[in-house]
Amino acid sequence: MSNGVTVDADAIRKLAEILRDTDLTEIEVAEKDARIRVARVIPAPAPAQYFAAPAMAPMQAMAAAPAQAAAPAAPAAAPAPAAAPSLDASHPGLVTSPMVGVAYLSPEPGSAPYITLGAKVTAGQTLLLIEAMKTFNQIKAPKAGTVTRILIDNGTPVEYGEPLVLVE
């Protein structure tokens, strides 16, 4: 491409990402002789905007709240801050809830928790309990590693697929 145009795909994709994040519709970057301009038409409202947003529901709040590992233990039904840091659900070290129930971090009230932040765990080690239908189900580490995030509080209701613990 000696006398053509150099397509800097990385730069364009980066601009596209900024465009998406910022709700802009056009960005133009020029430097000396080079110039990149990206634009997009704001898509027809995404599904999530189609409907009058219901009041933040407890379960939705729950789904968001666990993502804030450092947050003080808030009542389960309290509305979560809108901008809780999100975790990719496909993260390989993420342990998600296999059932609906209530998560407990220690074997019984008042006893020491199964795990703490930074703890080393072995594969198969119990991380927490989920109570469903009056039975307590042990949630075990899928692999050995370090507990880098605990995403729920003791006694939190959890739904199916909800992120619980990150083991890296």
């Binding site: 219901p54 529901a57 059932m99 469903a132 239908m133 739904e159 199916y160």
Partner: protein
């Protein structure tokens, strides 16, 4: 406004979850939607006040997952559970467990669900209660000899059916004595394979019946009221496609007579909440076939002609309220037709899940749409193919057909194939318009060139 519960969990999905949600919202009751991961962006989840993901896409692990649903009710503080139709709605064990957890099951007692779930027990009960039945065996057939004797008595053709049956499995016709032995054997084998129980019974086979059913509500104070009949004769492979209220063949006097028999029977039975008695009808005679102890898909046609909100009534009854009206207060006005729009090829009936690029509902006078579709929604491949119910109401049957036709023309579901074209053909058909059809009509109609 009466509000029997402050929060109800809706143990279903799709249009019926939305239907129950609407009734709750209008009653000032908060709703909890449960959903599989495949339904995270479904309409019933979006509109509900709260939602809980209860499992992966397969229904067995989500919408049929009793433990997950009860846990969801517990952690959200729901006071009652509405099961909709299908899934757990006729599961007596589920109804028991709901009550055992201190919650209210919005439906009949587990005992009645169980009784009506056993087709032989249901017929025994109805026979005792004076409801007309198809002539046939008084319970399971013990032997081929007994089958032969009963067939002689009720006259061929006869039908051998699985006691635990449903959906046409374990069901065989013997048109004359020479066919009886094979029908007996095959029905038993199929019954064993399908339901783990080879009990079979016999009925006179009706060759050109209509399917007519009666809608009933019963409160916990002994009041039982019926809301007239629905004609659901337009079926393909035992799936209803078009339903009408009232039936084109029934007079007001015939409706009253059947209604009186049925409400008397259910009063004696001590039945509660909504129920539907299904009958075959031929030559002016009704024959009870089964009772559905739940809300039916086609309940809207009854709502249109009676001006009643059946889901609201179900919730009120579950909350212990009395109906507050009697049979004489139920009035029938005009005619209603429901078209079940499914995500299927209108000729091959191959399922057609996928993304709906454009959804546009018809509007105007006398048109009701019950649908969980929206533009951009992806119909998941895991569940029932019903995506919309178009319900029309007009003063006359001809007016209702004309209204259905014009509403079908306005309706747009792009991106997937649907049965909209088939419904347009049905509404245009002179035989359908005449009202003179049986449960076999639609199969033949569908097999004709489109």
């Amino acid at each position: 406004m009466t509000r029997p519960f402050s929060k109800v969990l809706i143990a279903n999905r799709g249009e019926i979850a939305l239907r129950v949600h609407r009734a709750c919202q209008e009653m000032g009751i908060r709703t909890v939607a449960v959903h599989s991961t495949a339904d995270a962006s479904a309409m019933h989840v979006r509109l509900a006040d709260e939602s809980v993901c209860i499992g992966p896409p397969p229904a067995r692990e989500s919408y049929l997952n009793v433990a997950a649903i009860l846990s969801a009710a517990t952690i959200t503080g729901a006071e009652a559970i509405h099961p909709g139709y299908g899934f757990l709605s006729e599961n007596a064990r589920f109804a028991e467990m709901v009550e055992a957890h201190g919650l209210t099951f919005i439906g009949p007692t587990a005992e009645h669900i169980r009784m009506m779930g056993d087709k032989i027990a249901a017929k025994d009960a109805m026979r005792r209660l004076g409801v007309p039945l198809v002539p046939g065996s008084l319970g399971a057939l013990e032997s081929l000899e007994e089958a032969r004797a009963v067939a002689e008595q009720v006259k061929y053709p006869v039908l051998i059916k699985a006691a635990a049956g449903g959906g046409g499995r374990g069901m065989k016709v013997a048109r004359h004595e020479g066919e009886l032995e094979e029908a007996w054997r095959v029905a038993r084998t199929e019954a064993k394979a399908a339901f783990g129980d080879d009990s079979v019974y016999m009925e006179k086979y009706l060759d050109r019946p209509r399917h007519i059913e009666l809608q009933v509500l019963a409160d916990t104070h002994g009041n039982v009221v019926h809301f007239g009949e629905r004609d659901c004769s337009l079926q393909r492979r035992h799936q209803k496609l078009v339903e009408e209220a009232g039936s084109p063949v029934l007079s007001a006097a015939e409706r009253d007579a059947l209604g009186a028999q049925v409400t008397k029977a259910l009063r004696e039975l001590g039945y509660r909440n909504a129920g539907t008695l299904e009958f075959l009808w031929q030559d002016g005679q009704f024959a009870f076939i089964e009772m559905n102890t739940r809300l039916q898909v086609e309940h809207p046609v009854t709502e249109m002609v009676c001006g009643v909100d059946l889901v609201r009534e179900q919730i009120r009854i579950a909350g212990g309220e009395a109906l507050g009206y009697g049979q004489e207060d139920v009035r029938f006005s005009g005619h209603a037709i429901e078209c079940r729009i499914t995500a299927e090829d209108p000729e091959s009936f191959a399922p057609s899940p996928g993304r709906v690029s454009t959804y546009h509902a018809p509007g105007g006078l006398g048109v009701r749409v019950d649908s969980a579709l929206y533009s951009g929604y992806a119909v998941p491949p895991h569940y029932d193919s019903l995506v919309a119910k178009l319900v029309v109401h007009a003063p006359t049957r001809a007016g209702a057909i004309a209204r259905a036709r014009r509403a079908l023309d306005e309706m747009v579901v792009d991106g997937i194939r649907t049965t909209l074209p088939l419904h347009r053909r049905i509404m245009d058909d002179p035989e359908f318009q005449s009202g003179d059809y049986t449960i076999h009509w639609l199969e033949r109609f569908v097999s004709r060139a489109g």
